[in-house]
């Protein structure tokens, strides 16, 4: 605690003056982008200062790659002689960006709770900036997490079976899916009365979708009804498309383009449902 801060000195510079008026048309769009970037920057700075989010964005992804590779990997046998680390990457990407989304919900609900959004609403800034800035910051965080995991994966044996283009396409799909999912977490964050509730609401939705999927184990060991669910739920569809892209079509039954289309349809569908819902929810805050 500083005790050297009690003396308030007054010099010139408190005199009032009107700020720039809000423009119309194209210039207004420019403001909206600038505001979103300001909020993006603010959220990214915060992520580097909150120990929990630093952990979830750095140490946890590294730990999971190593844990699955060395602890579970030996007991799980992917199809067609694939190594477990090659099989794992798609699943662990989605698991990481998925759980990372909880941070979106928690962050938004904290902003609400602490009165920050209230202050934002009295500023001459674009209404869209809070949500746009939050989701952009989380997209940037996800890019970082995927790069980190790719590096660690490569160190422990991942060898890009379908080459760089396939891997990049799969990663882009993971990011797009994560972005669509973020809007769902934004809805949760805006609906929850506090950040603990936001967390509690997010987990039960995320957990079954991530673990009842082909993310970590081949579907052959699951009972038929579960196998059907795991294949057709959005996370299953996205992981199948990613594997088809990053490992090669022969490892996933069905054509690559078919899988990718289904995955993209899920992403677009989720975005079309959740983004308007989040915006609606945000506008209704009073």
């Amino acid at each position: 605690m500083s005790t050297t801060t009690t003396a308030i000195t007054y010099e010139a510079g408190l005199a009032p003056a009107a700020g720039p008026a809000m423009p119309r048309g194209a210039a207004r769009l420019g403001w909206a982008v600038a505001d979103a970037l300001t909020i993006t920057k603010r959220n990214l700075i915060a992520y580097t200062r909150i120990p929990e989010s630093l952990f979830f964005s750095t140490l946890q992804p590294i730990m999971f790659v190593l844990l699955f590779r060395y602890v579970f990997g030996g007991a799980i046998h992917p199809p067609l002689g694939l190594t477990y680390i090659d099989f794992l990457m798609a699943g662990i990407f989605i698991q990481s960006v998925g759980f990372g989304g909880i941070g979106t919900a928690v962050g938004l609900s904290e902003d609400l709770q602490k009165g920050l959004i209230e202050r934002f609403r009295a500023l001459p800034m674009a209404r869209s900036a809070v949500l746009a800035g939050r989701t952009t910051a989380d997209l940037v965080r996800n890019v970082f997490v995927l790069l980190l995991m790719t590096g660690v994966g490569a160190l422990v044996g991942f060898n890009f079976p379908n080459g760089a283009p396939g891997f990049i396409a799969a990663s882009a799909l993971a990011l797009f899916f994560a972005y669509a999912l973020l809007w769902g977490f934004a809805v949760i964050g805006l609906a929850a009365s506090n950040s603990e509730t936001a967390q509690v609401m997010a987990f039960p939705i995320l957990f079954p979708l991530i673990f009842a999927s082909p993310a970590f184990v081949p579907l052959t060991s699951m009972p038929g009804w579960l196998r059907w669910f795991a294949t057709n739920q959005p996370i299953g569809a996205v992981i199948n498309a990613m594997r088809s892209l990053m490992l090669g079509a022969r490892y996933v039954p069905g054509s690559t383009s078919g899988h990718v289309l289904v995955a993209l349809a899920w992403c677009v569908g989720l975005l079309l449902v959740f983004a308007p819902l989040a915006v609606w929810r945000y506008r209704r805050i009073s």
Partner: protein
């Protein structure tokens, strides 16, 4: 003439049940401090939220420098600054980063914002702490930063929602000095407070709100004049003696005296002259005052007279302080019209 702020018959009900504002009207002259005074839950914050465009009223009109807070909300937001009760700042950012963010969201140029942030940190005595995350700040420092953030864009109209609630007395005086200074520079201020002293010290005009209505309006002096010009406080050794003194002094003052513990409170029109009379009567009856004070009626006296209850800040004292005046409950019998009734 354009007012800094005008509220016309503002009404707001939450969830169809809680009537937060029930027809509130007032006007704030440019370059002055206007105090919205009332207890917790009186509707002060709701009024501020409507006038700062955060909340739409159910009915009624709010104007800031002539601009409608609903229809011209965008324009209004460029003219106002808001500092709230809960110091709405990002605790993960440093003081400087917070100020910069608010400046950028006001669309000020990057170099202007940088200069302004340094300037404000200095003015608010936060230069040393400016590059530390807010998590490390004390409550008073956060509140100062919150006010500083409200000033980044040099607003013409400043809303301060209970700026000193929860602050220690020293920080409170700091904030008062800052508010006074802003008004000297030409800013208009709407201040909400539950501290009567604060409104009395700072505000040129006051509206007293309770249950979503303005129940009195005027300058602090006008409000206090409603109670008589002066109050004589006569302290005695114990409550029994005080009751005797009250009965002796029954017809001396402008209104009947009240006994508060072992003190007699006597509203009078001409304090010093009546004081002689009071001391003479006490002496004749062999009553020796332990304390003797001539004071202006406090705004708390006014609030009590208007609402029949103490303000939040004084609630713990209220149990031991009985009341006087037309609308007050009487906890101690006061005797009127028998100047020698209790004398022997």
């Amino acid at each position: 003439m354009t007012h800094a702020i005008e509220a016309h018959d503002l009404r707001k009900t939450f969830g169809g049940e809680v009537r937060a504002l029930d027809g509130v009207s007032f006007a704030v002259e440019e370059g002055t401090i206007f105090g919205l005074l009332g207890p917790n839950g009186a509707g002060k914050t709701t009024a501020v939220r409507i006038l700062t465009t955060i909340l739409a009223p159910d009915s009624g009109t709010g104007l800031v420098l002539g601009h409608d807070v609903v229809a011209q909300a965008d324009r209004v937001r460029t003219l106002i600054g808001l500092a709230g009760q809960y110091a709405a700042v990002d605790e993960n950012l440093t003081g400087r980063e917070n100020l910069t963010m608010v400046g950028r969201l006001n669309h000020l140029a990057r170099d202007v914002v940088a200069k302004r942030a340094t300037e404000l940190l200095e003015q608010f005595g936060l230069s040393d702490a400016g590059d530390r995350p807010l998590k490390t700040y004390s409550g008073g420092m956060r509140r100062r930063l919150d006010v500083a953030a409200a000033l980044v864009a040099r607003p013409k109209v400043l809303f301060l929602d209970e700026p000193t609630t929860g602050l220690d007395p020293h920080s409170r005086v700091d904030v008062w000095g800052m508010i006074d200074h802003l008004v000297e520079e030409g800013t208009s201020v709407l201040l909400t407070t539950q501290y009567l002293e604060e409104a009395d010290t700072l505000a040129r005009d006051i509206a007293v709100v309770d249950h979503g209505r303005v129940i009195a309006e005027g300058t602090p002096a006008q409000l206090k004049a409603d109670l008589g010009a002066t109050v004589l406080d006569v302290g005695l050794a114990d409550p029994e003696l005080a009751r005797r003194a009250a009965s002796i002094l029954g017809s001396v003052g402008a209104k009947s005296p009240t006994v508060v513990g072992s003190t007699v409170e006597l509203p009078v029109d001409d304090g010093p002259r009546i004081a002689i009379e009071v001391l003479r009567l006490l002496d004749q009856n062999a009553l020796v005052p332990t304390t003797f004070r001539i004071r202006e009626p406090s705004l708390d006296d006014v609030f009590m007279a208007l609402t029949g209850k103490r303000t939040e800040a004084d609630e713990e004292e209220a149990t031991s302080i009985p009341t006087n005046g037309r609308h007050r409950r009487r906890r101690e019998p006061s005797v009127a019209g028998t100047s020698d009734g209790g004398a022997r």
